[in-house]
C-alpha cells in the first residue's frame, strides 16, 4: 500500500509558541489513521495543517515538508483551494450552512464550477448515499439543514465534504458533539468510506480509535511519539509514554 501523505520534519509555531515539533509521518492510502493524545497535544493543529486550514490563523509559521501525492503542499504554485478540494475536512461541531440540504451538498461542486442541474442532482444523491443519509433526507432536500438533528447534521457535513470528490477526508473529532447512537452510525460510515477514501481522524476516544482505525498516531506536547498499526500500538506500545497514556495513567 502506498503512502498518500508524507510529512518530514514539520514544525509549527503560533507566534512564539511552538505547537508542533519535528513531526515525521507517512499516511497510507485508503486506510483510516487515527490521531490520539491529550488535549492541547497538537493533534488537531497537525490535522488542520494537512489541508492548510491553519493559513486562516494569523501568526502561524510552519517549517518542514508536507507532500501530498509527491507534491509539496506549501509550494508556490499550489492552489490552496484545489488542495482543499482534494483533502476535505469534517469539523468537530457539525457546521452545515444555513441553507437547504441540497444547497449544502451542492455548495462544493458549485464552488468548483459545476452548474449543470442534472449533474448536480447526481452528485448530491451520490454524496448523500455515500454518507448513508440519503434515505432519511431524500424527501426533504429543500428543507433547511439547520432543522436536522446533530447526528444527521454531521453526516450531512460528511456528505458535503464527499461531494467535491476528495481523495482524503480529514475529520477533527467528528463525533465528540454527538450522542452514542449517532456516534456509532458515523463510525460505521467511516469504515465503509475507507473503500474509496483515505481517512485521517482526530479522536479523543481511544475505544473509537481501536474500533475504527487501521493506524494510530500518538501525539504528546507537540511531538509525534509513536505511529504504527493500531493493533500493535494498543497491544505492545514501543514508547513508555504511549503505554502510560493508553493505560489511562494520564490525560
Amino acid at each position: 500500500m502506498s503512502n498518500i501523505i508524507t510529512v518530514k520534519d514539520m514544525c509549527l509555531w503560533y507566534g512564539e509558541h511552538q505547537a508542533l515539533k519535528n513531526v515525521n509521518i507517512e499516511i497510507p492510502e485508503k486506510s483510516i489513521t487515527a490521531f490520539i493524545g491529550p488535549s492541547g497535544c497538537g493533534k488537531s493543529t497537525f490535522l488542520k495543517t494537512l489541508n492548510r486550514m491553519n493559513d486562516l490563523i494569523p501568526g502561524v509559521k510552519i517549517t518542514g515538508d508536507i507532500c501530498y501525492e509527491g507534491t509539496d503542499i506549501f509550494a508556490k504554485d499550489v492552489d490552496v483551494n484545489n488542495l482543499r478540494k482534494e483533502i476535505g475536512m469534517v469539523f468537530q461541531k457539525p457546521n452545515p450552512f444555513p441553507m437547504s440540504i441540497y444547497d449544502n451538498i451542492a455548495y462544493g461542486p458549485r464552488t468548483h464550477g459545476i452548474t449543470n442541474k442534472m449533474q448536480l442532482d447526481d452528485i448530491v444523491e451520490r454524496a448523500l448515499r455515500d454518507a448513508a443519509i440519503w434515505d432519511e433526507v431524500k424527501d426533504r432536500l429543500k428543507k433547511n439543514a439547520l432543522g436536522m438533528s446533530g447526528g444527521q447534521q454531521q453526516r450531512l457535513c460528511i456528505a458535503r465534504a464527499l461531494a467535491v470528490q476528495p481523495k482524503i477526508l480529514l475529520m477533527d473529532e467528528p463525533t465528540s458533539a454527538l450522542d452514542p447512537i449517532s456516534t456509532s452510525r458515523i463510525e460505521e460510515l467511516v469504515t465503509e468510506l475507507k473503500e474509496k477514501y483515505t481517512i485521517v481522524m482526530v479522536t479523543h476516544n481511544m475505544q473509537q480509535a481501536v474500533r475504527v482505525s487501521d493506524y494510530t498516531a500518538f501525539f504528546l506536547l507537540g511531538e509525534l511519539v509513536e505511529f504504527s498499526k493500531t493493533d500493535d500500538i494498543f497491544s505492545q506500545p514501543q514508547d513508555k509514554r504511549t503505554e502510560d497514556y493508553i493505560t489511562g495513567r494520564f490525560g
Partner: protein, 285 residues
Amino acid sequence: MLNQSLSKKRKSFEVLMKALMAVSVGLTAALVLFLLVYVLMRGIPNITWELLSSKPSYLTERIGILPDILNTVYIVLATLLLVLPLGVGAAIYLTEYASNKKVVGIIEYAAETLSGIPSIIYGLVGMLLFSNSMGTCLMAGALTLVIMNLPTIMRTTQESLKTVPQSYREGAFGLGAGKWRVVRTVVLPGCVDGVITGCILSVGRILGESAALLFTAGFAHAVNGLIDGLAAPGATLTVALYVYAKEQGEFGVAFAIAAILMVLTVLINFAASLVQKYFAKRRSL
C-alpha cells in the same frame, strides 16, 4: 445590633439619592410624554388631505406638503442606494479581509470621527463638494447624507458580521471555496439583519436631518418625478418644517409636519427594535 437602624448620615444619603433619582426619572418621562402629546395635539388637527396632497401656491395662499413628502422619499431612496454598497463593503473589508490591525484601527477611528461631526459641518462641506459643482439639488443633499450615514451602516453591518459563526467560514474554506465565494455565499446572507437595522436607523437620521440639507438640497417646493426631482432643489419634510416655522411663521403647517415626523420616529424606533428581536430569536434557534 441587628435591629439597630442605619446611622443618620447613611439614612439621609439613602433618602436624598432616592428622591433625586425619582425626580430625574419623573422629569425625563414627563418630558417625553409632554413632547409627544403637545406635538400631536397641535399637529394632528392641521393634517388635512389637502395639505398632504397639494403643493404650496402663493396665488391661492394655500400650503401643501406633497412636494416635501416626495422629496423626502427621493432623498431617502437615493441615499440608501448609494450608502448601502459603500457601508456594507467597508464592513466586509474590516471583518473579512483586513489583516493589518493598524489599518483597521485607522478606518474605525475615521468612522467614529465621521459620526461625531455635526450636521452643520456636513452641510457646509456638502455645499463645497457637491452643490458648487452640480448645483443645489436633492442629489447633492443625498451625497452629503451618504457620508453622514456611512458609519451607521458600517457599524451595524460589522456587528452582524461578527455574529456569523466562524464554523460557516471554515466549512466553506474546507471545501476549497475561495475567499470571495465564501464572503458572497456564506457571510453576506448572515448580515441581512445588520443591513436592515442600519437602513432603519439611517432612514430615521435622514428624516430628522435639516442642517446638512439646507445648503445642499435647498428648500424649493416643486412636485417632481424621481429623476428630475434628484436634479432639482427641494426641501424635505424637516427642512420644510424649519422654513415654515422660522421664516414664514406658519406654525399650523409646522406642527402638522412635526406630528408626522413624530409618528414616523415612533414607527422607526418600533421597527428597529422589532427587527432586532426577530433576528435575535432566529439566531438563537
